[in-house]
Symmetry: C2
Subunit: 190 residues, 2 copies
DNA sequence: ATTTTTATAGAGTGATCAGTCAGTCTTATA
DNA sequence: TATAAGACTGACTGATCACTCTATAAAAAT
């Protein structure tokens, strides 16, 4: 087995349950089934482990999204895909998503390089830019539109986590709220 | 001077800068200008301090909102007041608001009693209930409407933090986005 | 076959930190 | 004024933790 992956998986599980400072490196090593020192063979410091875990998870999410997007489809479809697939991914990968949020409100965020951060928003920025340039979006600042999209996405995900509905109902909520969002940010009359 | 308040203020400042585990109780005491042991005279444990700080801040926010609400005004005005005043408060009390978010994604949240949590959503629940019963809102689950409101509120706040606009422009963004939100969740045609 | 490099182990270490304790100072009350 | 109660102090402690170090085993390179 790949000990590095074991360590990251163990860390994720423990961080979500006990928080960053609530999980000593010794517990991570134990949970991963390796010796204490082995952890420091793969990661120079605990912080490096945390940051790498974050980047790894973000890459997974990004890879997933890219695999679902098709440049040939119209903007609305691609936006819908991003919206729906993001929520679905977050529902399936609960620990990972919670970890991302935890990480975002921690001082560790500052340790992520600017490039790494930029890499993760590039796709969204491209989509939003397209919407603005093609005048499909309302005449609002592009960042504001991005914020509206992101926050509603987070919100609807939170709603689905708090109220466990059958999968079909979940899909309905996602579809309905996307229509609401689309009406809000575009000039299109339905 | 009130040492308990000094301690809470010092803790807030340090927590926001260094995170919960990044700030030892010794530093909090020093920053507050009191002896180490005094901290434990007022708070049995570090965790109690953190939780009390959270509740204190939430009470302040709630008190502020209540002072701005007038039962006589129509629902739309009251909702707008909640929306606008929440964002304004968060902009003025940056540290407090950041702390709330930090706290929300930490294991400490579990230590807040159910009553304390309920107390903080009562006002919002009442407003939302009124909107549903009066059929002003669309026929959507009340929690979903609440989520849509809350998430957009958070989002617009984040947008204003990331882009520093003159106050008049800020007000414009708040007004505009409230109209968008209101159109999204109500049946009213503008 | 021999050397070098890499992976793994786990006991050990120095620093840090939450929380204690024994005692002093301040204030209120009798 | 005497006494009690509460506020306050800061040195101290026991535990914990991130990280190191030495040693060994496995794998790769020569």
């Amino acid at each position: 087995m790949d000990k590095e992956k074991e360590l990251l998986a163990a860390a994720l599980k423990l961080f979500v349950e006990f928080g960053f400072h609530g999980t000593p490196t010794s517990k991570i090593a134990k949970e991963a089934g390796v010796a204490n020192g082995t952890l420091f063979h793969y990661f120079k410091t605990k912080e490096e482990l945390i940051v790498k875990l974050y980047i790894r998870i973000k890459e997974e999410l990004n890879g997933h999204m890219l695999s679902k997007l098709d440049d040939q489809t119209p903007l609305e479809i691609r936006m819908k895909t991003v919206y729906e697939e993001s929520i679905q991914w977050a529902l399936v990968h609960r620990d990972e998503f919670y970890f991302i949020q935890q990480f975002h409100f921690s001082p560790h965020l500052a340790k992520v390089s600017a490039e790494d951060l930029e890499k993760q928003t590039r796709m969204h920025a491209a989509l939003l830019g397209e919407g603005v340039e093609s005048r499909i979006f309302k005449a609002l600042p592009v960042n504001l539109i991005g914020t509206l999209l992101a926050s509603q996405l987070y919100g609807v995900h939170q709603y689905l986590v708090n109220n466990d509905l059958p999968v079909s109902k979940q899909k309905e909520v996602i579809d309905e709220t996307f229509v609401l969002l689309w009406q809000m940010i575009t000039n299109i009359k339905s």
